[in-house]
Amino acid sequence: MRTPAFILTLSLVGAVLYFAFRHVGNDYLFFAGYTVLQYIVMATAWNILGGYCGYVNFGSAAFFAIGVYSSVCLHTIGERVDDLFPDFLLAPMHLIFPLPLPVLVVVAGAVAGLVGLGMGYLTLRLRGIFFAIATLALAVVLETFVANWSFVGGSRGAYVAPPTEVPFFGPYIQFLFVLMLVLVVAALTTARLIERSRLGVGFATIRDDELSAEASGVPTLRLKLIATVVSGALFGMAGAPFPYYIGYVEPSSAFNLSYSVNAIAMSMIGGTTTWAGPMIGALLLSTLQQVFTVTISSAVNLLITGLLLIAFVILAPKGIVGLWQSWTSKAKGPNS
């Protein structure tokens, strides 16, 4: 399927979903759906660096949080224009601020991508394991800085009040839902494009054998940087609407380790070699988590996520996609 057709198909599915939810009339569907969609973006983002290139990012929560806090920052600027700018700038600044959410998303992506570039430049020349540990280190350093930054609320947190109604969509959550749908289409399309391109081949060689890749002419550092930037940017974009979704952000929840664990678990359970894997993993796991949170408790669903991750990593390393591939090739018979 060519890319424009792919985008169209995904968009149609998204539109059907949106209107179906709207027909049901219960806003809860949009709230829960937003979370599931967010995780699809995050798992896909993680997989571009982790699954395609083989470089594990334990600190994904940091890039998500960069998105969250860049929104908080810009929102706060928008609220305090009168305090922050000299008089002669007030008129134009009031025109610019408050920035619409799509703009915030783009800015968040840019900031997160830039941070990814910087961090990648520092650490990607080392072995994969050092990169993984460095990502954890980065997450903690960033969290400490944000917790000490009073402009965005520091450790006490910040309240972000979204508008209650938006034209056409009605309740604000529906607007957020559609925005996240757009991000899902963007993320899946990006992953699929990469997978099918020369870039995807290059990423796979890095995952398989980096020395051999270099000897074959693959510019490994450059490709790894690209992967880090794309991955980081997608995470940041997924985080940008979050303050408006949740209303109150503070560092320990924005930087929560469970975001990192979920991104990894969903990708590995779904299958890391293809764009569909993280999506399947996210759909399954996130839906399961929603069910468990409502029926049992949120701590238990984290436990189950962790156990599933361990189980899949040991027993089904190629994930659900891999299981499906081996079932279908067995069905075709030994001569396939």
Binding site: A204, L211, E214, A215
Partner: protein, 245 residues
Amino acid sequence: MTQPILHIDQLGKRFGGFVALDGVELSVPQGQRLGLIGPNGSGKSTLVNCICGTLQNESGSVTFDGKKVDGMPAHKRTRLGLARSFQLPRPFRSMTVAENIRVPLLYTVNARPGSHLAHAELDDRCMELLGLVTLQDKASKYTTDLTQVEMRKLELARAMAAEPKLLIADESMAGLSHSEVEDIVALLIRMNARGITIIMIEHIMSAVMTFSQRLVVLVNGKKIADGNPQDVIQDKDVVGAYLGT
């Protein structure tokens, strides 16, 4: 008299306290067939790694085709025309044999200004290269299904796919049968006839003697002999250190 295609000047490499290469000097004219021999651990693979950029040398310099390549990453050197096969084969395990060959085509050949293989041409070139090492029947097999010998041939084909000016074949014939060794030697000589300089690192003396126009011996990181193969194998230092009586 044109410049040598490879010039190594006082190359030094240490691993902690261990001196792997000690002041190695080597000048290779274009088009030569050079054999490099020496006992295990003498530094042959380290030398290859330093020439190709897999490792960076600490002292001395490497000049390839007139350019100083010290500090240059390996992929740039490959694109300049320096290719090598790995002593222990390093295939891309998630890919098929044909896909393995596509990598240097995509990233080396297609990365050079002026040369660009279109999609169909890529496939043709893959099969052509696989045919040279008689692996064409295994094109769609995964590398995990190959025998050791087939993996060595794949290693060689991947190096050749990069269309090098200088090819370093690092023990690519270990484990091959007598006729397979002859085939590979013949292949390398044919490539050489097309203008490619070749450095062959081997323990199989029959192949080395048939192939080499010049023989270099490395022992304990130092070059102890360099010259006509017939003379070198009779050199008493070489006999003492490596060949035995």
